[in-house]
């Protein structure tokens, strides 16, 4: 393949990467971070078919060729997309990126600022809070197969947001981040860094969209979530990129003692989308809930890889991923629960359920357990099947046509996860997106 040697593809051009890195010359550590990212990227191979961490995914069509760092959007496009970004009324803060350029810098209420709350673009935070970034940014390797993609993310790191809620501060209203892709062939590398101090409480809603449904783009996102002692983080992330997007998200979800984290991922967009999420239970009493839902249509491939690492005992993690598949879509769920020898009295659960609405769709499930402690409650399970015929008949017997009945049952199937979203407005937006997707499948 000529893809990796192509000189025209911006994101694979070392000179371009170095030139952009020079912009951060006044932040040595950040320059080094980007350079290290590039080195790692160059030394790592693209995943291959026989790679266990990529089992069942279509590695042949993986390509990073012909993607560019887009220039800043026009004022007209910016205004238009900002106007379309108000999914949540009265957020605690709203940040908007277009093609990786921050076009709306968040303004937070003075009383939040007075309490030490920080919600800024990554670039601003680099200037204002380097110590915070140094402590929490990209502290973990991608251990689920996406190392090369995370390396590229690191090499081009610039976009994204940093949210820090200090000790004891509880905020009801959600923080909202909206990422758009606008330019054909654009590559973006948005980062989400959330740090909740001890006993802090915070909610984040993220929307990832393309300005045009057909847009070809590459999105390699990463998220670092850190919940301190007794802290509570709720995150809802909506992947609704255009249907010619390749997207990758590599997330780390770290819970300290007695922390409570709920993370929900909804997948709608992209031609192929891969989510890697590692849950790290670092303190006893932590409770981390990881949920995923998707509606996969056409020839979409949704690839979900998760790891629940219990390093501390008396903690809980619960995972539920539900996929609805139509047409020739494919989903892959691969999850592993790892319990360290001294993480006694761990409760860890993992469930994957797939609803097939088409005989040509395919769902693969690879659940796993690696338990070294002896006093634990762990379970994993996976089911794949069609709609229950008696439920279907019940709906039909009320005069509801077959297509609508199937859709209602599928929506009902997803509701179990959507009901875990802490923000009703965001859940409603996604419910509507799913509905639209059913109608256009």
């Amino acid at each position: 393949m000529s893809t990796l040697t192509s000189m025209t593809s911006g994101i694979l051009d070392a000179t371009l990467q170095q030139n952009e890195t020079k912009r951060f010359a006044s932040y040595d550590w950040f320059t080094q971070l980007r350079q290290q990212g590039w080195k790692n990227f160059e030394s790592l191979p693209l995943p291959k078919r026989d790679d266990e961490k990529w089992r069942f995914s279509d590695t042949r069509s993986l390509s990073l060729a012909d993607f560019n760092i887009a220039t800043a959007p026009s004022e007209a496009d910016t205004d238009k997309l900002i106007a379309q970004s108000h999914f949540i009324t009265r957020p605690a803060g709203l940040i908007i990126h277009i093609d990786g350029h921050c076009v709306l810098r968040p303004a937070i209420a003075p009383e939040l600022a007075a309490q030490g709350v920080k919600f800024e673009s990554l670039e601003d935070a680099l200037r204002h809070h380097p110590a915070l970034l140094k402590e929490f940014l990209l502290k973990h390797e991608a251990n689920l197969g996406g190392a090369k993609f995370l390396a590229l993310h690191q090499a081009w790191l610039r976009a994204g947001y940093v949210l820090h809620v200090p000790k004891g501060v509880e905020i009801k209203q959600p923080f909202v981040s909206v990422n758009w892709t606008l330019t054909e062939g654009a590559a973006i590398f948005p980062h989400a860094l959330v740090v909740a101090g001890d006993h802090a409480k915070v909610s984040i809603q993220e929307f990832n969209l393309s300005a045009l449904p057909q847009l070809r783009a590459l999105a390699i996102s990463a998220a670092d979530l850190h919940a301190g002692t007794g802290a509570q983080i709720s995150r809802f992330s909506v992947q609704a990129w255009g249907k010619n997007t390749q997207s990758f998200e590599i997330a780390n979800t770290c819970g300290g003692r007695d922390a409570l984290i709920t993370s929900v991922n909804a997948a709608l967009g992209s031609r192929r989308a891969r989510l890697e999420n590692t849950v790290r239970i670092e303190g006893p009493g932590a409770d981390v809930r990881l949920y995923g839902i998707s509606v996969a249509t056409g020839e979409q491939e949704f690839d979900q890889r998760t790891l629940q690492i219990h390093s501390a005992g008396k903690a809980k993690s619960d995972l539920l991923f539900k996929n609805v598949l139509l047409n020739k879509a494919r989903t892959i769920f691969s999850g592993l629960i790892k319990v360290a020898p001294d993480a006694q009295q761990t409760d860890a659960y993992q469930t994957n359920r797939n609803l097939l609405l088409s005989p040509e769709a395919e769902a693969d499930s690879l659940p796993g357990l690696e338990i070294e402690a002896n006093d634990v409650k762990c379970s994993h399970g996976a089911t794949t099947g069609q709609v229950n015929p008696e439920e279907l008949f019940y709906l039909l017997a009320r005069g509801i046509p077959m297509a609508v009945a199937q859709e209602l049952l599928a929506e009902g199937f997803l509701e179990e996860v959507l009901s875990k979203v802490d923000n009703e407005e965001a859940a409603a937006v996604v419910r509507e997106m799913f509905r639209l997707k059913f109608h256009t499948a």
Binding site: P389, R398, G399
Partner: protein, 252 residues
């Protein structure tokens, strides 16, 4: 008969087991007919065959609602043509709220693309729930999920009241109801009685027929009607039991 539910010589089976055997019955619109009969005699099968359940196959026979053939039609088309089945065992539908479910059923009866009057819908839904003494919170509960037996039956009658079919088949709607619920549900049905609706009420208990007084009572045995009479037949049956029917049949 144009204004009737007409079932003619219906033969239906599940797998290779014949259940309905030359079953015939006519329910004129505006009347309430009751079917009683021993367990396993085919009462629910009749209800499901009429509703177009795919598990049953019809070998021969016909069924019409107001002259329209329903045998061979898809279940949703049969329902929209005007047949309602209150299930003996209603399914639980996880994640689908009662409000959305009934709404979808009503939308399916509208002209394509016609606007749906949500305000009027909720007003009517709440009013009907009030008459059935159902808590309004039920609208946001998932259909039948975690409902008690009696709540499920009430929910069936709520749907009946909202969908206003031409003919309703009530399959043991009284089972699982306590005395108060039985009265409330019966009142709901009685309120719907009138020249525009016909009822086929399947029950084991004469008690229900004291509340919903039938125009005709039929006794079903081994896949067909073996005896018909007025409401007193139910009382006679209660006193004599089914052995009487069986003996009758043997001597016939």
């Amino acid at each position: 008969m144009p204004d009737s539910l007409v079932i003619k010589n219906l033969n239906a089976s599940i797998g290779d087991r014949a259940i309905l055997k030359d079953f015939s019955l006519t329910v004129p619109k505006g009347e309430v007919h009751a079917i009683m009969g021993p367990n396993g005699t085919g009462k629910s099968t009749l209800a499901k065959v009429l509703a177009g359940h795919p598990d049953y196959s019809v070998q021969s026979g016909e069924a019409f609602i107001d002259g329209e053939q329903i045998i061979g039609q898809e279940p949703d088309a049969i329902a929209r043509a005007g047949l309602f089945l209150a299930f003996q065992y209603p399914s639980e539908i996880p994640g689908v709220t009662i409000a959305n479910f009934i709404r979808a059923a009503l939308v399916a009866r509208q002209a394509k693309g016609a606007p749906f009057d949500a305000k009027a819908y909720y007003a009517e839904l709440y009013a009907k729930m009030d008459t059935l003494k159902m808590d309004r919170k039920f609208t946001s509960r998932f259909v039948n999920e975690g409902f008690s037996g009696g709540e499920k039956k009430r929910c069936e009658i709520l749907q009946l009241m909202m969908l206003k079919p031409k003919y309703a088949v009530l399959d043991e709607t009284d089972s699982g109801l306590d005395i108060d619920a039985l009265r409330i549900v019966s009142e709901g049905v009685n309120r719907l009685r009138g020249p525009d609706m016909g009822f086929l009420v399947i029950t084991h208990y004469q008690r229900l027929l004291e509340y919903i007084v039938p125009d005709r009572v039929h006794i079903m045995y081994d896949g067909r009607i073996v005896h018909s009479g007025d409401k007193d037949l139910a009382i006679e049956l209660e006193a004599k039991g089914y052995d009487w029917v069986k003996k009758d049949l043997a001597s016939a």
